[in-house]
Amino acid sequence: MDLLFEFLTTLKNTVIDVLPILSIILGFQLLVIRKPIPHIKQVGFGFIYVLIGLALFLLGLEKALFPLGKMMAEQLTAPEFIHAGEQVLTSIHWTDYKWVYIFAAAIGFSTTIAEPSLIAVALKAEEVSGGAINANSLRISVAIGVAFGIALGSYRIVVGHPIHYYIIAGYIVVVIQTFYCPKLIVPLAYDSGGVTTSTVTVPLVAALGLGLASTIPGRSPLIDGFGLIAFASLCPIIAVMAYAQLTEAKTHRTNKKLEKRKRIKEEKRNLNRNNEAP
């Protein structure tokens, strides 16, 4: 009974979030386009499914994953865990936080795989590209990017470097890759940066950043706690372009191999023909 009540509250909040979008769509459809929505029944049911799905998803996250994830982030960054046995904190070394980096990467990867908006974009990309881009490979490369990004972001909080050096360096990598990678993937790669950080990733990552920044001496949670999300949106761009480059290199190599094999066959055939005709 309690669960049902909670579900209804979450559903109500989701509906409120969606209201502005819905009113914009309806307003433009009725006042500007002035045509009935095609397949209105199906679209309506689809919308209802999306709302119910999102509400269930959020409720489940709140019940199961968020409290657990936040608690783990707190425990992993707690001084008792990191400096087990040492009574006096003399200095911190970045390697003390190795479990934090591993946790950051693992949680970044796994939450990205479950991110609904990334699933949406990956499905669309697979459909539009006619299967040339595989939805699952795209999601895995984005997830690797996020994992690396959040681990790097946690390292930055631990050592306390200014954020913009990292971001600018990342931009430079993006610029260089843009010129060398297949043109087809560029817009999708740029998109994947913004897509990754929504419902699932943000709360968990924010908890991690806050936990780190508030337990490390000399870091302010208010200033250093921010910035992890920026890493999580930059690294997937690099990862997706790298994925495209790797795939291209691979097909290039197999094509070359096929060509070579063909050439050898043809040469043999020519040789045979020459031998037969005296």
Binding site: L19, G46, L56, T197, F226
Partner: protein, 245 residues
């Protein structure tokens, strides 16, 4: 009916697979690293079941409702041929979906507390509220602007990389002159703007437009709207920070 049920089961199985990594990560860290028993396991199992169900419904509804409506609207606008209405729609979609975005509201509130404790704004509830609202409207305006630019790009067929790289240059230059307390928030605000419902809609809009306009490739021209929406908020928030100080 039977067929639909099988489709549903397949989707359910897919959602389980999507969730498996999270379960593994949490179990590993809880038992192997932190070495602690799982607290209230019943709640967690119920929650996981809800997440799996929710994800299944979401994806199901996505293909039924969100994608078709985004594409049909894009095609209707393309047929109508009125660029100004299309751009108005683009702006409304960006602004409207962002201004009410819960994660943005949360971040803006947090940022207001930072600013108040840092002495940037007066430490009263009122000034915090106005700062947070200012931040929210700045980001929402930036996203509306971004979708407009992105739609214009699709119509005109501008290559995306020059626009995005140009945006990066602006971000870097602004970073040099913007007050340092705004930089972290500005960089983050790029990531938090695009919500779970906006992304599929905006993607469908872009792909629909690119397929409706002659000479555009949906793969090259259709994607990229979200990229703009994560870039412009950084620039606008830094401007906001400069204006305030």
């Amino acid at each position: 009916m039977n067929h639909q049920f099988i489709v549903f089961l397949k989707a359910l199985l897919g959602s389980c697979k999507d969730l498996l990594p999270i379960i593994l990560v949490i179990a590993f860290f809880q038992f192997a690293v932190l070495q602690q028993p799982m607290p209230n396991i019943g709640d967690i199992l119920v929650g996981l079941a809800l997440v799996v169900l929710g994800l299944t419904f979401f994806i199901y509804g996505l293909e039924m409702g969100l994608f078709p409506i985004g594409e049909s609207m894009a095609q209707a606008f393309a047929k109508k041929g009125s660029i100004s209405w299309l751009l108005t729609f683009a702006f409304c979609l960006g602004f409207g979906t962002t201004v009410a975005e819960p994660s943005l509201i949360a971040v803006a509130k947090e940022a207001a507390i930072v600013a108040a404790s840092g002495g940037i704004i007066a430490d009263t509830l009122e000034s915090q509220l106005s700062y947070a609202n200012g931040l929210r409207f700045t980001v929402a305006f930036a996203v509306g602007f971004a979708i407009v630019i992105g739609v214009l790009r699709i119509i005109r067929g501008w290559p995306i990389q020059y626009l995005i790289l140009g945006g990066y240059v602006v971000v870097v230059l602004m970073t040099l002159i913007a007050p340092s307390w705004i930089i972290g928030i500005a960089y983050d605000s790029g990531g938090v703007t695009t919500s779970t419902i906006t992304v599929p809609l905006v993607t469908a809009l872009g792909v629909g437009l690119a397929s409706a306009i002659k000479g555009r490739n949906p793969m090259i021209d259709g994607f990229g709207l979200i990229a703009f929406a994560s870039l412009t908020p950084m620039i606008f928030v830094m401007i906001y920070g400069m204006v305030i100080s």
